[in-house]
């Protein structure tokens, strides 16, 4: 089990590291568009479209990675003041909401992707850009996020049972700075 969780976390971290370079690709494509239009004088019609398709992947696929970093923004007004155990139990309580969202996204994303793959769907631009690879990554992004969410749920359960949650298996364990602040405030 630990091995499985570690693998999921590592896969997401690996994806995050490599996909992050996508911003450079988008940058180069858009700059190429301007350069081709003005310096070369022959505008390209595919660069902007390709950049958009890459951006779409870039935007969704990092969801699971962001969860390993506990980077999805939340409102910490009350949450930030809770003890670690209290936070873990609240997270377990609200986990079904996460499951609903990501589960339905996986299900419907799978529908969209399989239809796009079956038709080898292309855009209706002149370049006829293949849309199916980007669409196929919607359920992939959902799976990556869902798996990491399951890892998180397990780490919350372990917190309640007083077990350790090593960072290389479960990703970042919340906010250590804030934990310290909480402890200090309680001591006052």
């Amino acid at each position: 089990m630990m091995q499985l969780a570690r693998t999921i976390t590592r896969v997401n971290q690996f994806i995050g590291r490599w996909v992050s370079l996508g911003v450079l690709v988008i940058f180069v494509l858009l700059l190429a568009d301007v350069v081709m239009r003005y310096l070369v004088g022959s505008p390209t019609i595919w660069t902007a479209e390709l950049a958009t398709l890459i951006f779409g992947v870039y935007a969704i696929i990092g969801g699971g990675y962001l969860l390993t970093e506990r980077g999805h923004v939340n409102v910490d007004i009350f949450y930030g003041r809770m003890s670690r155990r209290r936070r873990a139990s609240v997270d377990i309580l609200t986990w079904p909401l996460f499951l609903l969202f990501v589960g339905v996204l996986l299900w419907q994303g799978w529908d969209i992707a399989s239809e796009a793959i079956a038709d080898m769907e292309r855009s209706n631009s002149v370049w006829k850009a293949p849309l199916w690879p980007t669409k196929a990554l919607i359920p992939v992004a959902a799976i990556l996020l869902l798996l990491q969410g399951i890892v998180r749920l397990w780490s919350d359960i372990r917190v309640l049972r007083g077990l350790p949650i090593p960072e290389d298996v479960f990703g970042k364990p919340g906010d250590p700075d804030r934990d310290e602040i909480n402890t200090q405030e309680k001591q006052k």
């Binding site: 239009r37 004088g41 505008p43 902007a48 038709d119 209706n124 631009s125 002149v126």
Partner: protein, 314 residues
């Protein structure tokens, strides 16, 4: 009799005149005809979906009805591009109405769509025309002209030497005003007016690049599930509206252009003959290529060719 309410996802923005004059009128007439038994709840572009995805939500039955540009469904139906309109072929709106309804282009599209559970009924014929910030006096002026374009029109303009490119609608005005592109087509006069294009492009070019259409699409299961009287009320209303709305739209086009000339200082121009010649060659080529998509596309291409021959265009 029970009451039926259908959600309809339009591809027009809700506050636009197209939305009100097309969908709004159909909804009102239908409600009147059925004495309130059949209501349409109208959604503006993007409320549930926009663009090509409207086809999907209708096909899946998320909403029973929607409006599209047939250019969205060129992958779903062989003859869709012919229902949308081929640049440089038909010149008058009535020719397009005739080709769509009497000569069978719409029926050819429906052969494919019905297999998908969708039925298309054209909403109106509307022209596409180009606006430019530069004057074109010869084919040389047209060379390298940067035009915001999309779909089949892109090939067409490129063939005559322009350098068409894609700019998202949200950045079009800014791009025209600063000179990133020299021109665009967004519908014709009504489109140019609603997108404020005339503020930055003073030359409005004739002839039409193409006669095109907008269309209603209906989920077949939903359509068949209607009581007979409601179904025929809906189908009859849409069928009649096609001709009425197409005629009315031409009138509004003329009004819009007159207003543009008076208020925005627009000059109505005609493309020079040498540009038109190059466009004509490109048009024949596109017709040829589109016709090779399959049996139904070939039939549609023949409908176009015959009509053009009878009109003396080719």
């Amino acid at each position: 009799a029970g009451e039926v309410t259908w959600r309809v996802q339009a591809h027009w923005p809700k506050a636009s005149s197209s939305f009100t004059a097309s969908l709004g009128v159909v909804a009102a007439q239908l409600e009147e005809k059925t004495e309130g038994a059949f209501k349409l709840e109208l959604l503006g572009a993007g409320e549930f979906a926009k663009g090509p995805d409207i086809y999907n939500i209708v096909r899946k039955g998320v909403v029973p009805m929607g409006t599209i540009s047939p250019s969205y469904i060129s992958d779903q139906a062989e003859a869709a591009t012919f229902a949308y309109g081929i640049p440089g072929t038909l010149r008058q709106a009535w020719e397009m109405e005739h080709a769509i309804k009497n000569l069978g282009v719409e029926a050819l599209v429906n052969e494919d769509l019905n297999a998908d559970g969708v039925h298309m009924m054209c909403e109106k014929v509307l022209p596409t025309e180009m606006v430019l910030s530069k004057k074109i006096e010869s084919a040389a002026d047209f060379q390298g002209l940067k035009i915001r374009s999309s779909g089949a029109m892109l090939d067409y303009l490129a063939a005559a030497g322009a350098a068409p490119q894609y700019i998202p609608g949200s950045e079009l005005y800014q791009s025209l005003s600063s000179g990133v592109v020299d021109g665009a087509h967004w519908g014709a006069a009504i489109g140019a007016q609603s997108m404020s294009l005339w503020e930055v492009c003073k030359y409005h070019y004739k002839p039409v690049l193409a006669q095109t259409t907008d269309a209603f699409i209906l989920n077949q299961d939903a359509l068949e599930g209607l009581p007979d009287d409601l179904r025929s009320a809906l189908v009859d209303t849409i069928t009649t509206r096609f001709f009425l709305r197409s005629a009315e739209y031409q009138h509004f086009e003329a009004i819009a252009l007159t207003e543009g000339v008076a208020n925005d200082g627009v000059e109505v121009m005609t493309l020079p003959d040498d540009v038109l010649e190059m466009l004509a060659t490109a048009s024949a080529q596109i017709l040829e290529t589109e016709g090779q998509k399959g049996e139904k596309a070939a039939k549609a291409a023949d409908i176009y060719r015959t009509l053009m021959k009878d009109m003396g265009y080719a």
